[in-house]
Each structure stands twice: as structure tokens, then as C-alpha cells.
């Protein structure tokens, strides 16, 4: 490192594939940022992408990312903003080539270097690894992967920040990755900019906490925030969060001026505890962060300072996300109106279940909810309910089975209830529900040395 910047600004631009299309553009144009971080990959996304790639070898990545880049590349290149994104899915190289193509079309030839991080995809190596004794035991159930081996659709190790740092060091301005952790996409820019060592555990932990806070986009800046939610200003124009980090590992959470939303201690705390396990051990490939050491302070309007973060050495394992075909499900709904809306919906549920029994249709699970009464709070809500006064209730009933035929037969039992069940029923405009394939998630571990991250650089 020749010189260290006083502060580095990493902007969160996308909290999941499907997040606000306006956010990345607003982040690169609304004020100064050094990096734009975009997270695209949920657990089951990889299996969908793997399926696309099996049909067409040039696919298998988050296509929305390419559209987004087309919109922001001129600004990004002009301002020298770097981008880290795990939009590459199961085909990061194809994603990079698509972005390169767009860049050339925009007249940016010779002005852009794209880094590609791969090596996370274990699908083709799975049998070899199993044969060598890597059991990929399910972290929740302890079962070996052999149980479902013939149904596996995708298998990806979670890579950490290191290969992203390597790509940045090789001059990449856009780094497109496969399954890199959400937090690694924020940590890597900080390691690169400040020259943090991979074993500077407190710094690594701080960068990981920063990544955790902004990886869900506006959920850290007023979106989905319960604390005093009615007073959060102008969510229509919400500003996505930005980490303003310093070399010592402390950082501020901020957002661009003249944007909506709110950055305060209560909201940042909500995001810190989101999807939290044991707070003393937030494990990533890069290190282990202790969330009980985090100190928060409101140091200005829409500015929260994060300090004190302590970390511990990384483990010798990587997490592996495996997706496999599980079976089928279908969910049907009908709406019942006052008077006695809840009683009517309950009667319809009893009648439907009786008919399924009469047809000798058994399922792995049948699940009924009365939306408007108990769907989210279950029996806790029913205790406090004025049942007679409810204006309407949606009956929502779902089944799950390995057998597609049974699930399909179930879907034909919903509509008849309109004419041959309890009265005052409506809301079937959507038609008969379709049996859906269930792709389930199998979390496992693998020894770190078995996974070799790869970095490639493409000049546009």
C-alpha cells in the first residue's frame, strides 16, 4: 500500500435479487462512495441458476445485475467507483463477459477491468469428495448427504473476502463472484483499501459486522424497522446504508443527504440481531466476530458510530450450501366474509380435510391458516380476537408430498367449495393453484483446503 485513505465508503446497493431497482443508481449518484456492494444470492437461488446453466451454458447468473450495470457503468467508470457483487451465481465468468459486452457497447473499451471469482462450485466434484470421505453431514439433522445424493441440484462452498481482495489487488474495478458471503463483499474492500492483514482478527470482525449491517439494504436505514416506525421519514425515497470506515476498524453508518429513511441506534440494533445465532460466534470464512463487543453511538443525524468490535481466528472449515429436490407443495386460498367469517372459514377447512380423507389422500403435511386471524401469531392472536366482528378471513390451506399426483388432486378440491361449501365466499380469481417443486436446503461443512478459490481478470 502506498497511501491509506482516511475513510472508505462502501455503499449497500442491493439486499437480495429482486431488491429495489433504483437503489444502485441512487447510491452511485447521490453522493461520494468508493465501493458499491451488491448481494444477490439466497440459498435456493443457486439451484435455480444451476438449472438455467444446465439448459444453456452461457447462463446461470443474476441477469438483473447486467441491466443494473448498464445503467450505472458510465457513472462508476467516471467516478472510479469499484463494485463487488455475488451476481455471478454458478457462472460468474459468463456474467463478467455479459458485463464486458455491455461496457463495450457503452464505449468503455479499454477503460474497465473486471475480476471474476470462482471455485465455490462443488457440484461437479461432489462424488469425488464423498468418495474421499467428506460426508457433508447436514448441520441441522446430522444426516449424511448420501441420503439425498441423487436429488442434489447445486452445491457451493461459501468463499470469504480473500479472493475478492486478490481481484481488487489485480486492478479489477468490478468484481463478480459466485457464492461469496454477503459480508465478504463489504469486508474485502476494507481489507484492500486499508491493507488489513487476513489475521488482524478485530479488523476482520469489524468489517464483517459492517457487512452484516448493510447486506440487507435499507433494512439498516429505516426499512422494515419496528422502532418508532410511524415517524421514519419518506420511505418512498429511502436512502440505502453506507459504511464509512476508518483504518482502525471503527466505522459510521450513514446515507446520502436528501434521502428518506433513518439511521439510528435502534434501527441498526434491529439489523444487528437479524438472523442472529450465538452472538459471541458469528462465523464467516474470514473470522469469528463477537457481537457482544459491538458499541453503538448516535454521533449525528442519520449517523451511527460502530466501535469496539472484537474478533477471533477463523475456523478450518467452510460452510457448504447444497440444494436438493425435496417434493411438491401447493397452497390454495379462499376468502370468507362477515358475518361469522372465521367460523365459515373453519367449517370449509373441516369439510376440505374430510374430503381429502374420503379420497384416501394422505400428505406429509397439511397446514391451515386463517389469514386475518391466526396466520402470523397463531393461538396467541386468537386469544385476543373479537371473532364475530372480523370483516373477512382468508382460508389458506397447503399440502406437501413427494407425490405430485396427490398434490395435484388436492388443488382440484379448493374451487368446488365455492358452490358446495359454507356461504359468503369469494376471492378465487387467481384460479387453481399449481403444484410447485420444493427445492430444499442442506447446510454442511467442508475442510478449507478442499476448496481453491480462483481469480481471473478480464480487460474490457
Amino acid at each position: 500500500m502506498t497511501s491509506q485513505p482516511a475513510a472508505v465508503r462502501v455503499a449497500g446497493g442491493q439486499g437480495f435479487w429482486g431488491d429495489w431497482l433504483e437503489a444502485p443508481y441512487r447510491q452511485v449518484t447521490g453522493g461520494p462512495v468508493d465501493y458499491l456492494m451488491m448481494d444477490y444470492l439466497a440459498e435456493v437461488t443457486m439451484s435455480i441458476l444451476q438449472k438455467q446453466k444446465s439448459r444453456d451454458a452461457s447462463r446461470g447468473y443474476a441477469t438483473d445485475f447486467v441491466t443494473q450495470m448498464e445503467r450505472i457503468l458510465p457513472t462508476v467508470v467516471q467516478r472510479g467507483i469499484k463494485v463487488t457483487a455475488n451476481a455471478g451465481g454458478v457462472n460468474p465468468r459468463a456474467c463478467a463477459l455479459a458485463v464486458a459486452e455491455v461496457a463495450r457497447r457503452l464505449g468503455l473499451e479499454g477503460k474497465l477491468t473486471i475480476g471474476v471469482v470462482s471455485g465455490d462450485d462443488l457440484l461437479g466434484r461432489l462424488d469425488g469428495l464423498l468418495a474421499r470421505g467428506h460426508a457433508f453431514k447436514n448441520l441441522d439433522t446430522g444426516r449424511p448427504l448420501q441420503d439425498v445424493r441423487d436429488k442434489v441440484l447445486s452445491a457451493n462452498a461459501y468463499l470469504g473476502a480473500a479472493p475478492v481482495v486478490a481481484a481488487l489487488q489485480q486492478g479489477a474495478q468490478i468484481v463478480i463472484t459466485g457464492r461469496v458471503t454477503d459480508t465478504g463483499l463489504t469486508l474485502a474492500p476494507l481489507m484492500h483499501a486499508f491493507g488489513w492483514a487476513a489475521d488482524a482478527w478485530d479488523r476482520i470482525a469489524a468489517g464483517t459486522v459492517a457487512g452484516h449491517i448493510i447486506e440487507c439494504g435499507a433494512q439498516a436505514s429505516g426499512g422494515n424497522c419496528l422502532s418508532d416506525w410511524k415517524t421514519i421519514p419518506d420511505l418512498a425515497s429511502v436512502g440505502y446504508p453506507i459504511v464509512e470506515a476508518r483504518a482502525d476498524g471503527t466505522f459510521d453508518l450513514v446515507k446520502h443527504p436528501h434521502t428518506g429513511g433513518r439511521i439510528d441506534v435502534a434501527g441498526v440494533t434491529e439489523q444487528l440481531v437479524y438472523e442472529m445465532g450465538d452472538p459471541r460466534e458469528y462465523i464467516t470464512p474470514d473470522g469469528v466476530a463477537d457481537f457482544t463487543t459491538i458499541e453503538l453511538a448516535q454521533v449525528g443525524k442519520d449517523r451511527v458510530r460502530v466501535s469496539g468490535v472484537r474478533g477471533k481466528p477463523a475456523t478450518d472449515k467452510l460452510k457448504v450450501s447444497i440444494a436438493y429436490f425435496y417434493g411438491y407443495k401447493a397452497i390454495g386460498t379462499l376468502v370468507y366474509a362477515w358475518p361469522d367469517a372465521l367460523d365459515k372459514a373453519k367449517a370449509a377447512d373441516r369439510i376440505l380435510r374430510q374430503r381429502l380423507r374420503d379420497l384416501r389422500l394422505e400428505f406429509e403435511a397439511i397446514h391451515t391458516e386463517f389469514v386475518g386471524a391466526n396466520a402470523t401469531h397463531g393461538p396467541l392472536a386468537l386469544k385476543d380476537l373479537d371473532a364475530a366482528g372480523i370483516p373477512e378471513v382468508q382460508l389458506r390451506i397447503g399440502v406437501r408430498s413427494p407425490d405430485k399426483e396427490r398434490v395435484d388432486r388436492f388443488t382440484r378440491e379448493i374451487a368446488p367449495l365455492i358452490l358446495n361449501g359454507p356461504p359468503s365466499v369469494t376471492g378465487f380469481a387467481g384460479g387453481r393453484p399449481k403444484p410447485e417443486e420444493i427445492v430444499a436446503y442442506w447446510p454442511a461443512l467442508i475442510d478449507k483446503p478442499m476448496v481453491k478459490p480462483m481469480v481471473e481478470v478480464i480487460e474490457v
Partner: protein, 107 residues
């Protein structure tokens, strides 16, 4: 005097497989000891009886005046398998806020 948690705390929840997590955060530092004393793992397990199949774990984050609960077996298999509206446990947090605690002598 009793109050509902919704009046003295806020919360956010999420999922990990078939486990829902609830982060419960005191609105003011003076309420945190009340949460620690009264909102125990055992009490939360009773609160959610009939809604969760597994045990409840609790972790303390005094630095954030927050408690983190893990509700195992809460999501009908979780993620894509689940038939629930709240398959990812997003609003379990608000169900916890229905709980009542004693404001006097409860510290």
C-alpha cells in the same frame, strides 16, 4: 403493574433453516434488566407453546440492551419446505411482543 413487551421493547426476527430467531431490544436501558429477569428461555417456550416443536435458547447482548432467542422447530421445516405464510419467521418477533411483564418489583 403489568405492561406488554410492545410498550417497552422492539424486535426483529429472521430464520436459519427450521429455526426462527428473535432479537428483543429494550427501548430504554432501564428496561433491559426487566427483560433479562423475566423474559427467560423457559417463559418464551411457554409463550409459543403449540407454535414451535423444539427448544428455545437465549443469548444476552447487554451492549445492545438486547436478548437473542433461537426458537427451534418453529417454521414447519423452514424456507422452501414450509407451508406457513411466515415461512422465514419474519414476524415471530411481533408475536413475542404480546407477552406481558411485571413492571414493579420485577427487577
Amino acid at each position: 403493574m403489568k405492561k406488554r413487551l410492545v410498550d417497552i421493547a422492539h424486535a426483529r426476527s429472521g430464520d436459519k433453516g427450521d429455526t426462527a430467531n428473535i432479537g428483543l431490544i429494550a427501548n430504554h436501558p432501564k428496561y433491559y434488566p426487566l427483560l433479562v429477569k423475566q423474559v427467560t428461555a423457559a417463559r418464551v417456550a411457554r409463550h409459543f407453546r403449540g407454535m414451535i416443536k423444539g427448544p428455545v435458547e437465549r443469548f444476552e447482548l447487554p451492549n445492545l440492551r438486547a436478548l437473542n432467542f433461537l426458537l427451534h422447530g418453529a417454521l414447519d421445516g423452514g424456507g422452501t419446505i414450509s407451508l406457513k405464510t411466515d415461512a422465514q419467521g419474519k414476524v415471530f418477533s411481533t408475536a413475542l411482543l404480546r407477552m406481558e411483564i411485571e413492571m414493579r418489583g420485577g427487577r
